[in-house]
Subunit: 207 residues, 3 copies
């Protein structure tokens, strides 16, 4: 179980780092800017989460794993794009794996955030849901702010909804069985998101 | 007094939530994005304030009142705009009430922030003034950053000045009489802001 | 030594405040907006640093020196630009002094941030480097976000690199000799940045 979990978090971190790096490249940033966007996306949400519950210093600085993983991912993406190592067809093929990794990240980050909230302040369910959501989507929002675009999660696709519902599922189950809460809420986020992608679902807008 | 205070905070929260929701709608966000902008505006300033003084977790997560109120306000605004329930004339009529509620929010949030600063660290007056200001205008700044526009409070109208002056009034009086400080600084913010609106005052610019 | 250090920090604060105020003026902000941008640039990075290590309330609020210095700088810049007291030639002449003061700020803020990290959590070197970097460039990033432009540090010039390298130099030396670490890392940041300006160096981009 623990090894599976680390795999999920690593896959999520890599996917989030890729999404940040690609936005940085699209904004013609230099290698430092691309790294900052990758780091913001991959660890930014977790830092806000830790600040909100007083977990100081934030987890991302305690183990070099996630920062190193993000830096390595950034470097590889930078070389691939600078050397034009991928043609359009290869990018389309990779896209499917990217979406799966991103969804693993969405699910594992949601569960991590909700777990930290529930184990620290079980009496405040809205805090736990917020922490799950912030861990999952906070980094992407910082990425978009730094790149000067309206955060995509606020405008399109079913991206935040799976995280919110997954956090609710976690809290409902955790009161009865803490160990079942993790895998079931993880699956809830994953499945809802995949259904959203498959059917190209969007949340309602005013017009 | 306490009931009156809750009324002020509730009116302010609703007004701030409305302002966030309307900006979200104007940016063609989906219902989740609109909710995030309403929440940022209504509780964002208070969260920054609590993080700055180590009040962990922030107050907004301890009682469901303000988040629930903001969610409900967002839902009503969403339905009103989606169903086009208001014509131009009705919107103009409501505008006056909105401005009063917004000014009640500006005043009560300023006083709340300054009070928290003064009661926690009375030895740092600049901190108390900053907390009053951040509680009052921080949420609106986050709203504008998320909506990709220069924060309106930095460019036009007398909006921050009443908060700064009100916080100073609070500190001046609080050293003599803590109970008088609240209503007098509240009135100071309210009156200065209303005068600013009435005479369409602006702060000086370079040209 | 201590007096020299205060001189560096004061020079840096003034330079950072000027850069914030000028961006505010260029965005046609009012005097309050200009002040907020000056304050964000001068003390914003230090506030994030203090929040990340639980140094509550942040240092900037404990002594009125830096806020007062920033406010005074803002006022002088505002008057100079409103009264058009400087012609193009004078501005060009002053630019050289500005760059030196800005580089003093970059160097002293980097060293201050790294020192706080190393003295609080010596076991987390990535945290110390991040704190050095955030103290030095965090304020400029907030300034650019508030002014609705992509943070310049992510796109051009050698600005963050000297801070990162300086923080690494600090950590390498601090393990042997804490007192040598400060001046040598300070010089490292200063010299690398000056070389970068002189040779108009840029970090690599994708194309």
């Amino acid at each position: 179980m623990t090894i599976l979990w680390i795999f999920f978090e690593v896959a999520g971190t890599i996917a989030f780092a890729i999404s940040g790096a690609l936005v940085g490249i699209s904004r013609r940033m230099d290698i430092f800017g691309i790294l900052v966007l990758a780091l913001s996306t991959a660890i930014g949400g977790g830092i806000i989460r830790d600040v909100l519950v007083g977990n100081i210093p934030p987890n991302s600085f305690k183990s070099p794993l996630y920062i190193a993983l993000t830096a390595l991912t950034t470097l590889i993406i930078f070389i691939i794009y600078r050397q034009k190592l991928l043609n359009y067809r290869s990018k389309q093929k990779i896209r499917k794996y990217y979406l799966v990794a991103d969804t693993l990240g969405l699910a594992s980050f949601t569960v991590t955030g909700t777990t930290i909230g529930f184990s620290t302040y079980p009496q405040y369910p809205l805090l736990s849901i917020t922490l799950g959501l912030v861990t999952a989507i906070g980094g992407g929002i910082i990425r978009d702010i730094l790149a000067q675009r309206i955060p995509s999660v606020l405008q399109e696709e079913i991206y935040a909804l799976p995280a919110i519902l997954g956090a609710c599922v976690y809290l409902l189950i955790a009161n009865f069985n803490l160990f079942l809460a993790v895998p079931i809420s993880f699956l809830a986020v994953f499945i809802i998101r995949i259904i959203g992608i498959y059917y190209r679902l969007n949340l309602p807008k005013v017009n």
